[in-house]
């Protein structure tokens, strides 16, 4: 009897879920495609290998941090300190190479370590003492920036060949950071869909109480994830420093946290937790990358770019909603 009242309902996350969501997202995907078509029509340089490489390169770090951020947000947490974590690890790596003559490899490891520690610090505060994630990470956003600028006032630069390869090297014609980003994305997807903790991410996000009653580690998992996003931010900082061949303490990674959050939400992750897919996140990141690149190609003036970006965000959010609505059942549940 009840079986009949449940239209297929193949909408649970997981193999099947991601498939459905591919369609759910498609509204946004279509938006992206239209945008690409438009830019291609505007400038014949847009769809060139070189330019695509650009977009990929400038989206790489965003994707690297957006993946763990998405996992956090789905769990109902968030890390707003990533902007400063990027700055901190980049500067630490830089000054170790320049001031302390560390080998670039060692310096990079140190940078990653710093990032991870910063992340874990957030995690302990947030998931164990149950402080508000937003306020805590807004705090550490300032704290880490302060430390960064305390460590070095003006930018260390000139990091040598190793870093150059890391930041601007090509492997099989694809920039190294892009390879790394793809790796991170793959891992993220495997984790979310393939492993038990991945399922628990949703459980915690939807109903922590219920997850706890079912024996899910409702505190350890977020803690670990904060460590991971710290690591990712550290990686991001290192890659930025490598790419820029310098690490300005005052500006490296500034307002990056908002970019990450935008990409994640744009990708259809619900800030309230419980909803989101890796595919969506990828889509959100690419969307932003294409938008910025295309507008520069078209020589749009700065204020118009701001307007266009803003409008694009709103429209994209609308498309995402549209995607959501296509789920028949959801429409019923969402009273209307």
């Amino acid at each position: 009897m009840t079986a009949t009242t449940v239209p297929g309902g193949k909408t649970a996350p997981g193999g099947s879920r991601s498939a459905i969501d591919l369609i759910l997202r498609s509204a946004l995907l279509i938006g992206l495609i239209l945008m690409v078509v438009f830019f291609t029509a505007q400038s014949d340089l847009f769809l060139t290998a070189g330019n695509i490489k650009n977009i990929a390169l400038s989206s790489a770090v965003l994707l690297i941090v957006a993946v763990p951020q998405a996992l956090l947000v789905i769990m109902g947490y968030v890390d707003l300190s990533v902007g400063s974590a990027v700055g901190l690890s980049g500067v630490v790596t830089g000054l170790l190479i320049v001031d302390q003559q560390w080998s670039w490899g060692a310096a990079v490891l140190a940078g990653l370590a710093i990032g991870t520690i910063g992340g874990l610090a957030n995690g302990v505060l947030v998931s164990y003492t149950r402080l508000s994630p937003i306020i805590v990470t807004l705090g550490t956003l300032q704290l880490y920036r302060g430390i960064t600028q305390f460590l070095r006032e003006d930018p260390p630069s000139d990091f040598g060949r190793g870093m150059a390869l890391l930041g601007r090297g090509l492997y099989l014609g694809v920039p190294v950071p892009v390879w790394i980003a793809l790796g991170v994305f793959a891992l993220g997807a495997l984790f979310l869909y393939g492993t038990a903790p991945g399922r628990h991410v949703y459980a915690i996000g939807v109903n922590t109480e219920a997850a706890y009653l079912s024996g899910v580690a409702t505190k350890r998992l977020p803690l670990i994830m904060y460590g991971v996003i710290g690591l990712a931010a550290g990686l991001g900082g290192v890659l930025y420093a490598a790419r820029l061949d310098s690490a300005p303490p005052g500006t490296l990674g500034v307002s990056f946290e908002l970019e990450v959050l935008t990409a994640v939400l744009l990708g259809g992750v619900a800030f309230s937790g419980g909803r989101g897919t890796m595919f969506g996140v990828l889509l959100g990141v690419v969307f932003l990358g294409v938008l910025r690149n295309g507008m520069t190609l078209m020589n749009v003036p700065y204020f118009a770019q701001a307007m266009a970006t803003g409008a694009a965000l709103v429209i994209a959010a609308g498309l995402d909603q549209l995607g959501q609505r296509t789920g028949m059942v959801r429409r019923v549940l969402r009273r209307n």
Partner: protein, 309 residues
């Protein structure tokens, strides 16, 4: 290993190059929120119009990553000539060399690069010095002790340069000068807020040196709000940029005594000329526009102001 660097053939030099015949110049100016930006563009375009060029712009909103991305886009786009104001010179080097290796003209703006065909310079260091010197002169002439608030912003390369310049000549160990506070200020709002508070701590505060006109004007407002007279002879407020408002304030011959200016018109023209010359393979090593401390008595004040619409 399989990883090689992505900077093409390193350091292509000007002569060996076949320049593009397309008459387009990209002007990458990251500080779009500065009030000088508009007029700068106007002059660059004026000259471009005369020489039949088109000028393109980026929108970096003061963000290093975005600036690099945008210039990278231009490089791939093979824009014939790029004039860039690097927020972080070191970060621009790889791009510059990549650009030049494909025979794109690369002109550096404000701070020199290793990889550049030419530069349009107005030294931040000099600018800071000029402000410091005119401040010292005012102190000497007046011969009374002063209490100073320094509003700097070392997050920006230019801000750091100007700060270094200022430090190098001010206060130069002068016993009469007491720097009671040094604070970071990015915007006019910051300038007003900080100055207001410092005025609380030191009601006899009578000198504010700002790293640009916006923050200095904020400071001036704080003095006015605190009920100080607009022409109080015992107060010295100085800014840098020579922005329209800055110079207007100076021309009122009040407490806003100096704005260290570079001739916006000259720079705007230079942006186009240097790039265009190089594209047309005319020799041009660039220009170095000297910063001048403009005060109410300065002969050229009117000319400087006339640059603005």
């Amino acid at each position: 290993g399989g990883v090689q660097e992505d900077t093409g053939a390193a350091g292509g030099s000007g002569e060996s190059c076949q320049r593009s015949t397309e008459k387009v110049i990209g002007f990458d100016y990251p500080l779009t929120s500065l009030s000088v930006y508009g007029d700068l563009k106007r002059f660059a375009e004026k000259r471009a119009g005369e020489r039949g060029y088109q000028v393109k712009y980026t929108a970096d909103d003061q963000d290093l990553q975005k600036q690099i991305q945008n210039v990278q886009t231009w490089v791939t786009q093979k824009i014939p000539a790029i004039v860039s104001y690097p927020l972080e010179p070191a970060s621009m080097e790889p791009l510059a060399s990549q650009a030049r290796s494909q025979c794109t003209v690369f002109v550096s703006y404000a701070s020199p690069l290793k990889n550049q065909d030419a530069a349009v310079l107005f030294s931040g260091l000099e600018s800071g010095k000029a402000l410091g010197e005119s401040a010292m002169k005012w102190i000497k002439d007046r011969g009374k002790p002063v209490k100073v608030l320094v509003l700097n912003n070392r997050d920006l390369a230019v801000g750091a340069q100007r700060d270094d310049g200022l430090k190098s000549v001010f206060p130069a160990g002068d016993a009469d000068v007491e720097i009671v506070s040094t604070q970071k200020a990015g915007t006019r709002t910051d300038g007003e807020q900080i100055t207001r508070t410092v005025l609380q701590a030191h009601p006899d505060l009578n000198m504010v040196l700002g790293y640009n006109d916006d923050v200095a004007l904020g400071a001036r407002q704080a003095f006015l709000n605190a009920g100080k007279k607009a022409d109080d002879p015992n107060v010295f407020i100085g800014g840098q940029d020579g922005s329209k408002e800055g110079l207007t304030a100076v021309s009122e011959d009040g407490i806003y005594r100096v704005s260290v200016a570079v001739r916006i018109r000259d720079i705007g023209f230079a942006v186009t000329d240097v790039a265009a010359d190089l594209l047309e393979s005319k020799p041009n090593t660039g220009v170095n526009v000297p910063p001048v401390a403009i005060d109410a008595e300065h002969a050229e004040l009117k000319d400087y102001m006339s640059d603005y619409s």
